[in-house]
Each structure stands twice: as C-alpha cells, then as structure tokens.
Subunit: 210 residues, 2 copies
Amino acid sequence: MDNQEKRNKEQLILVAAEQEFLTKGYDGARTTSIAKAAGVTHAMLHYYFGTKEELFERIVDEKFRIMSQSMLAVMGEPDLPTIERIRSGIAAHFDFIAKNPHLPRFLINEVVSRPERYSILQNRIQGVINILFSQLQEEIDNAAARGEMEWIDVRTLLISIMSLNIFTFVAYPFMETMLGDFMSDREKFLAERKAENIDTIMCRIKTKQP
Amino acid sequence: MDNQEKRNKEQLILVAAEQEFLTKGYDGARTTSIAKAAGVTHAMLHYYFGTKEELFERIVDEKFRIMSQSMLAVMGEPDLPTIERIRSGIAAHFDFIAKNPHLPRFLINEVVSRPERYSILQNRIQGVINILFSQLQEEIDNAAARGEMEWIDVRTLLISIMSLNIFTFVAYPFMETMLGDFMSDREKFLAERKAENIDTIMCRIKTKQP
DNA sequence: TTTGTAATTAACAATTTTGTTAAACCAATT
DNA sequence: AATTGGTTTAACAAAATTGTTAATTACAAA
C-alpha cells in the first residue's frame, strides 16, 4: 500500500466521521459506526486518531473555520454601494448555508453543550469579526447620513440576517412536518425563502418616506 | 408515605428528566444522572417509567403540546385590526419562547434525529394549523385588498416570524461568543431583539408608498 | 394482628461502547 | 534474504450505562 492509499484510508475515516458527527452530534455518534461506514476496523480509527474526542475535534475545528468564512460572505462584495453590498451579502450567506445545511445546528449544539471549550476559539474569531463589523458599521453610518438608508447597528442587522437565513435550514425537518405541501419542492422553496429574506431585510434598512 | 408523597417522587424524576433531556438531548442524557438529580435510586426511575425511552417520550409529548400552543400565540389577539394583530402575535410568540428558551432546540434536534417517529404527531397538529392559517390568510387577503398592508402568504410570514424570534434563543450561546459585550445585559438585549423583530416584520407587511 | 399491595433498596446482569495490545502483515531498503 | 517501518487484524479489557430481580420495608385494609 502506497502513501496515497494510506492518506486515502485516513480520509475515508474523516469523511465518515464528518457525516456521523454532523447528523448525530458527539453523543449520538458511535466510533464503531464511523469505522464501519469508512470500511475499516474500529481499531484503525484509534490508530490514526487516538480517541473519539480527538477525531471529533478535528471535525469541529474544520467546521468552525468554514463557519467563520460564512461571516465574511455576509459582508458582501466591497465595491458595491452599501445597500447593494448588504443585499449581495445576504444572498451569499444564504447560498453558503444551503451548501452546508447541517453546519449551523451542529456548531450550535456543540457550543451549547460544551461552552467552556470554545472560549479560546471565540477569542480568535472575535478579533477578526470586530474589525469587519466596525468597517461595515462605518459604511452604514455614512450611507445613513447621506439618506441612502435607515441607520442600524451592524450587530442587530447581522443577527437578523443570520436568523432568517440559518433558521430555514436548522428547522427544516421540523417545519416540513407543519408545512409539508408548502415545502415539497425544496429547490423552489429555498429560492423563495432566499428572495423573501433579502426583501425583508431590504425593507428594514431602506429609507422610509413618511 | 401517602399518595401525595408518591406523586411527589414521580414528579421529582420528571422534573429532573426534563432538565436533563432539554439541555443534553436524548443521547447525552443519563438515567443515572436524572435519578441522582431527583434524589432517588436509578431503580426507582425504571420502576415508575420503565425505560429511558418511555420517560423521554413523556417529556417529548408534553413539550410538543406546549410548543403547539406557541403556534396559537403567534395568531395574536383576534379583535385587533389585522396588522396590529400580527404585531401582538409576534410579541406574544417572542415572550413565549423567552419563557421556554430550551424548547425549540430540543424539539428541532428530536425531529431531526428521529423524523419517522413524529409523523403521527405532525398530522395531529397539521389539521389545527391549517385551519388557523387559512383564517389568518383570509384576513390578510382582505386587509391587503383594502390597501391596509402588503399581501403576503401566511406561511411565508410565519416562517419569518419564527426565524427571527426562535433563532435568537437557539443560537444564544453561540452568538454570545461573537458578540459578548453586545449581549452582556440579557434583559436589555432581549427587549431590543423583540422590538427589532417586530419592526422588521412590520416594515415587510406595511403598505409601501412608491 | 395479619395480610396484601405498592414502594424501595442493593446487588447483579447484560449490553454497548470505547480503548488497548500483541501478533501478523506488507512494502521498501539494505 | 533480513531488517525496518508503518499498517492491519482479531481478540481482549475496561468502563459506562441501561435494565432486572429478589429481598425488604411501609402502609393500609380486613
């Protein structure tokens, strides 16, 4: 077996672990189940990754990194006028979550069940985010001063955007039970949701004429 | 020991079980931990409730019932004009979730991890909800025809309201890591969020004058 | 007081799950 | 061919967790 095949085997375990952890969470995941899905004995899993805990952290670290990227996505394209930039940011954020539909629920559950573990990770991203936030806040301040939009605290805005975009996916199976027919065509439903979320935020920040 | 005290002991287990299941989920919960928290031997837990599964379903059933009530809350006070009714509905829904902050994440996780089990439960609430939805939809149709508000599909509206209200609590610990200072005063933060959610939806459904 | 029923306890059993280890294996290098 | 290194397997061990049971207690009714 050459080096490529070894990497491959390690990779198979990682892929299976990602699937298992993201859908079942740490407590619901079984290392034997991961090994089986990867097509290896469970001793191999321990050989490469030590413990369930260590394997899990490999996945969590990667997912946290990916999730941080989505924070950048919501900043939108820099060259557009502020309001269009926000519009593009919402769309990009929605698309990102649509590509990683299990990610938010997974990370939320992790942080909820082990808050202490992620305080370090938090500090790391908080610095980056604060800078981005203050940049966007300044843009908003200026645009509002020019009467191009209503003023809003960037953090308030971000929470609203994240709520609308993320909840759709976090609660998807739950809403399906109540709104089965309304959501039967997933592609169509998501396209409508994306448009609706953009509309909702745009309404909120567009200049009102009394 | 009289009957009251027996009920009391059963109740102690239920209270402890609720706490454990809602915060840790089914997989993370431990029957021994529940028994310990309730101050009884774990054999007592099995004596009263049979299995972990059965105890869990007791909790889930109750929580599903409570959650259904919140669907009614979002319908608002019937005597108000449509737009004010929706406003009161958003506020009532927000307050309800604020009183049961763990409920949404718990139920979402349950439905996600065992979708098949809840198809029956779904049918039960779907009937009630469809009637309420069509009533509110008719009100919206009329109000929109009178030019009092923008037309919107009631299901689209409901999803937006639920997204804004529920996500705040589902992702609270997660957002705290990014926005610690912004959220340090929980009461103030929640009050602002509630107002913001109402504003956001009101903007979306109020008549636009072009 | 006796008797019957439910409640309680402690000890045990069964299963699941994670983790370990010693031996076998394979491939490349000397 | 022998050595060396990492890889793989099967069997085992340890721990945790759920569930059971037989014996004991408490209590109320006959």
